[in-house]
């Protein structure tokens, strides 16, 4: 069954996630599809945080203008903007833990109907570490997950309970997948929106979690 082609592609998911952002927000974007969200904020006034110690993250530098002292949390060379500020890691996570960052948009391996998130570790496979993910999901105002609805084997990643070690418990607010948008509400997940060409039955069939 050609599941991968169903609904939104990576860029469409990123564009949908960008709609979650409001003028004036300070936002942290994770690695992968979340990084693409920056391409779709339009003329909204959004300040991107990089948790290694920067607010006001700019685009990649032009070739030859890379600065080894200026990288993002994915260790990629980036640039600064006129609004940029720098600070140390303790201050950076102070603003994360302190709820000053309005939203984080993150990838995930699994999400549960109670908003549990697993995105840092697969037992038996290479463990790289959680980096700042546990701090982000525990601290920021709103956690938005962007991911494919199913894994490569076609199994649901939207579950009754996560099987992988958790990054955070009851931390996810909204899930954006290739099939649509779901909110974590009391008793399960609520369908907010269906992706183009996806029926409610199709979304339900690909979802293990309780839909209320």
């Amino acid at each position: 069954m050609p599941q991968a082609a169903k609904g939104w592609d990576r860029n469409q998911m990123a564009a949908r996630a960008a709609q979650e952002l409001e003028d004036g927000m300070y936002v942290n974007l994770g690695i992968g599809i979340p990084t693409l969200v920056a391409n779709y904020v339009g003329d909204k006034d959004i300040t991107l945080q990089s948790e290694n110690g920067m607010l006001g993250m700019g685009p990649f530098p032009y070739e030859g203008e890379e600065d080894p002292d200026l990288i993002n949390a994915g260790k990629q060379t980036i640039t600064e903007l006129s609004r940029t500020s720098y600070f140390d890691s303790a201050t950076s996570f102070g603003m994360i833990r302190g709820g000053k960052i309005a939203a984080a948009i993150l990838g995930a391996m699994e999400v549960s109907e109670e908003g549990d998130l697993a995105n840092w570790m697969i037992p038996g496979k290479l463990v790289k570490g959680m980096g700042g993910a546990m701090d982000l999901v525990a601290g920021v105002g709103r956690v938005i997950v962007v991911m494919d609805h199913t894994n490569k084997a076609g199994e649901s990643k939207v579950l009754k309970a996560c099987t992988l070690p958790l990054t955070g418990k009851a931390v996810v607010d909204r899930i954006i997948t290739n099939l649509g948008v779901l909110d974590v509400v009391p008793g399960g997940l609520k369908i907010v929106e269906l992706a183009d060409g996806v029926s409610e039955d199709e979304l339900r069939a690909s979802t293990e979690a309780t839909i209320v």
Binding site: P59, Y62, M130
Partner: protein
């Protein structure tokens, strides 16, 4: 008191011993104390416990101390860029304590600030919370994390004056100030030592009270992920 030393070897003289606990600044390869790491390698000191967000890459930064088997335990948030690390970890030669990145930074800041422990909601309900005290404040659970006090801190800054006041550059600041704060002794390497009075006192990032020894030197400043964009063509 004289804080400026002629070389990394001289600056570390009398400070190193087997089994010691070192806190190191840097994020990835950005803002790491390259010269002091090389001097620790050269000293041959072993059974080290090192608190550092990452462990360098194969053959560079703290990765060099893995190659020489001088590290017994790492306290880090992310170690994915290092094949030798994984080999030693999976074979049981190397102990690893994962800390969430913000918890690690705050443990250093707290330890250096006379705060032996603090409560955080980071990691509640995860493996990180196992064995830790849980306390409920205003209806929400928090876990107790301990402050870190290291035997020695090694950090990298952009500029220093001879009293140890430090200024960092861009995102190379990262873990360096909290790492510096948590050491009983802190040695800093900088790109330039400038005359006293030439740094604006209002723009000092880390006051010299935290810095005991300073060296100036040349840094390779290796880039881990070189990413660029094309110039827009009209």
């Amino acid at each position: 008191m004289k804080k400026v030393y002629g070389s990394a070897d001289e600056a570390l003289e009398g400070l190193l011993h087997d089994g010691m606990f070192i806190a190191a600044g840097g994020f990835g390869l950005c803002g790491i104390p390259e010269l002091l790491i090389d001097a620790v390698v050269k000293s041959g000191v072993k059974d080290l416990t090192i608190a550092s967000n990452n462990c360098g890459v194969d053959g560079f930064g703290l990765g060099k101390l893995l190659d020489t088997r001088q590290i017994r335990k790492m306290i880090s948030s992310y170690v994915g860029e290092n094949a030798e690390f994984m080999r030693q970890y999976l074979s049981g030669e190397l102990e690893l304590e994962f800390n969430p990145q913000g918890t690690l930074a705050e443990r250093m800041r707290a330890g250096g600030s006379g705060i032996p422990g603090f409560y955080t909601k980071t990691g509640v309900g995860t493996v990180i919370a196992e064995g830790k005290e849980v306390k409920n404040f205003d209806g929400q659970d928090y876990i107790l994390e301990r402050g870190i006090v290291a035997d020695l801190s090694i950090v990298k800054a952009w500029k220093a004056d001879d009293t140890g006041n430090l200024v960092f550059r861009k995102t190379a600041r990262n873990f360096n100030p909290p790492a510096a704060m948590c050491g009983k002794i802190c040695v800093a390497e900088v790109e330039e030592i400038v005359p006293r009075g030439s740094l604006d006192p209002d723009l000092i990032h880390l006051p010299g009270i935290y810095v005991h020894r300073i060296i100036q030197g040349q840094h390779e400043k290796r880039i881990e992920q070189r990413t660029t964009r094309k110039k827009e063509t009209v």
